[in-house]
């Protein structure tokens, strides 16, 4: 008869408990095993990724045709943009991290411009609500307590309700993650 006792010397949640159980099962069911997880207290830290991995800036493109330009049917942009925001703080020091976006600058083609407020997004994560660029600074996208990660993929859409002069319009928004 094989027995397996597991003692956990730490506050662990299901994922760590499962790891411990699997270890027990694979290693040797006849030996009692205890697992201790030691986590050092670290400095506060935030991380932010918007778009593709790497140093470049991702580009979302909307391509209209003569048939659909300004016809009121929204156009999906490509590609979708991955947003990963992480924050951690030292033990017993709960802090909130906030992700905002600045969409003040319009998209420009020569002397013509299109405001960023014509672009909306959908999301695959409820903690990032769907929204529309405000055309201003400091638009809050999400706020979360430290020691968490927020991940989403945004699909951007161009409203396409207005007729603009022909051209290639370029613009840029800036996402900022901050933790006081």
């Amino acid at each position: 008869m094989s027995t397996c006792n597991v003692s956990i010397q730490c506050k662990l949640r299901a994922s760590v408990l499962l790891t411990a159980a699997l270890f027990c099962s694979v290693a040797d069911m006849r030996h009692a095993t205890a697992v201790t997880v030691v986590v050092a207290n670290g400095t506060p830290q935030i991380r932010l990724r918007v778009g593709a991995a790497g140093a470049g800036i991702s580009l979302v493109t909307f391509t209209l045709t003569a048939t659909n330009a300004g016809n009121g049917v929204a156009i999906n942009g490509a590609p979708n943009i991955t947003i990963i925001a992480e924050a951690r703080g030292p033990v017993a020091n709960a802090r909130n991290a906030t992700l905002t976006v600045n969409s003040t600058a319009a998209m420009i083609s020569g002397a013509d411009s299109i405001p960023m407020s014509v672009i909306t997004w959908t999301t695959n994560d409820a903690t990032f609500p769907v929204g529309t660029f405000s055309g201003g600074a400091g638009q809050v996208l999400t706020t979360f307590q430290n020691s968490r990660r927020r991940t989403t993929a945004h699909t951007f859409r161009y409203a396409n309700t207005q007729i603009f002069p022909a051209g290639t319009y370029n613009g840029q928004v800036t996402y900022t993650l901050s933790m006081p």
Binding site: T36, V39, G51, L59, V60, F164, P165, Y169
Partner: protein, 208 residues
């Protein structure tokens, strides 16, 4: 009893306030560009996304039923008492009914002009030698944001569409046809659906 201890570096895992946050090696590799900010005080990190909208030069034009199928037929059927006594007669048909058609102009190509053409130098015929001049078919309004070209045998003068701003045109109108009824033609059926020179073709053209 065997006791295994796993010392997890702070960069890989943290347990704070009962919650577990694991920073996987994959996530770290995704952020090789140095997006992590560490330290006391307020931490701030920014990332950017570029947007691009490509808009072609275009002109869309509609007269009557959308998509040209079917063509609109405007019909006038004066009675014996009405023929030639003057006073315009309203028509029937058209997508806007009552002898009227919907007109739309959408463009970002600058000034748009509309010209109406037909195949006959003499006007609408009855299949024989009798004709009714296109001058007998009036269209209103001749002003407005999309002025209706004044119909004439063969071709009309150009009617300029009002620009909304810059190079952009986004206008709507309804054109209503009438039969002027100032002549006494031979009895018969003049024109029809693409027959007896009964078809008028409107062409919208942008500035070069």
């Amino acid at each position: 009893m065997n006791i295994a201890k796993y010392a997890i570096p702070a960069a890989l895992a943290a347990i704070v306030g009962g919650s577990v946050l694991v920073f996987s090696p994959t996530a770290q590799a995704e952020q090789a560009a140095g997006v992590s900010i560490i330290g006391p005080g307020v931490l701030t990190r920014a990332a950017r996304v570029d947007f691009q909208i490509i808009i072609p030069r275009f002109l869309r034009f509609r007269v009557g039923v959308a998509n040209l199928v079917p063509n609109d037929l405007i019909e006038f059927a004066p009675t014996a008492d009405q023929i030639g006594v003057g006073g315009a007669l309203a028509g029937t048909g058209g997508d806007a009914t009552g002898g009227a058609v919907t007109v739309e102009v959408r463009s970002n190509a600058g000034q748009i002009n509309i010209v109406a053409t037909n195949a006959g130098a003499a006007g609408i015929n009855d299949g024989g030698f009798n004709v009714i001049s296109y001058a007998e078919i009036t269209t209103s309004p001749i002003g407005g944001v999309i002025p209706a070209p004044v119909l004439a045998n063969a071709a009309s003068a150009a009617a300029p569409v009002t620009l909304n701003s810059g190079l952009v045109t986004n206008q709507n109108a309804v054109w209503t046809y009438a039969y002027a009824n100032t002549t006494i033609p031979e009895a018969g059926t003049y024109g029809g659906i693409n027959t007896r020179n009964g078809r008028v073709t409107y062409t919208a053209t942008s500035a070069p």
